[in-house]
Symmetry: C2
Subunit: 227 residues, 2 copies
Amino acid sequence: MSSLSLSSFSFEDIPTAEVDAAEELYGGLADDLRDLLDVTIRTRVDESQVARARELVRQAADLLAADAPPEPAGIHFNADGRSWNWGNAVVGVRNAVAPPVRLEWQEDGSVRAALTLGAAYEGPPGSVHGGVSAMILDHLMGETASAAHTRVTVTGTLTLRYVQPLPLGPVRMEARIAREDARKVMVTGWIAADGPDSSPAVEASGLFIIPRWAAEPDAPSGVGSLD
Amino acid sequence: MSSLSLSSFSFEDIPTAEVDAAEELYGGLADDLRDLLDVTIRTRVDESQVARARELVRQAADLLAADAPPEPAGIHFNADGRSWNWGNAVVGVRNAVAPPVRLEWQEDGSVRAALTLGAAYEGPPGSVHGGVSAMILDHLMGETASAAHTRVTVTGTLTLRYVQPLPLGPVRMEARIAREDARKVMVTGWIAADGPDSSPAVEASGLFIIPRWAAEPDAPSGVGSLD
């Protein structure tokens, strides 16, 4: 089995301005890919057009593969406490699988997000896949447990209650710490359609754990939830 | 709120051979996109190369957008009972967000899948995102509840227990019906690294419900779980 430890995080001696520039450069490419991915689901162009599109996609992949280490993106941090996990399946800005979710930290410790889930997140016809709601709630709740990245947490258990279908389109979500007991943090969360009258489509509660190794005095700051 | 009903499914008067051909055509494009998506996370080519790649990606998107209705993919079925949900976030072969998971129906009613989760499914460094495990388990368990697509089910509740990290790479998963009571189906499932000594990384149990409307006599066959 694999295991996680403080060495799972990579310290990088890179100024924050350089990190921000790289994020914008490669993030822009991933944004274009999200558009391509969406239209790939919906298109009905003919075989010859699909063949041309495949040729363009393969050319792009060859260009990018000319210098691409095989490792996944990982989690990195610099001396300023800036951290980046660009490959993350939920928040990774270089990962077109991720919507990506952008976290809004509130002063009371709760965390919100507002995002649009399009055709690529479908489950029931016209609705968000129940597993997608589970995935992004797990992440938002883990980040909430990390108390604004002041500690590292991992998911222990997660329970989801599906109340009603969630239409594809704009959604909002929120999570907050319900209670804490030593290394155990209980978090609740929900996701709903974004609208004045909408009520939660999925409600969740989870137990998040601060691993023993994360309590070591040289634990990196700015890393947050290990989702 | 949106709601689901039998009209959520579209009957299409298309021969199965044509459905299969379309699946292969557009599925091939999505496979190429999965490769592009993966290398987009890992690449470190310079700004000019990224600009060239973006140009190619946008050209491909423009080609495909020339004839693309705005609706998500939905769930369709034909007179043979062949069904297709190509945009599904877990199993959709035209959706590059989906790995996609391919279901292996067992004679005893359990359902298995084996797949490789690469850089696009990362959470903790080198590990599968806990939310990704939740997402694909939800789907596999819902399909299991549908008893080989002989009935429609929706997720009621889902509980996940995270036992150990799941390394990126080949994984296997399995789900089975634990018990049934009228319209309630209890399903258990797990996901593990694919290897001789591996034990589950995430264990799940879920309550799946057969909606009242799905018990109508004209319910379409071959549609299965509404995940």
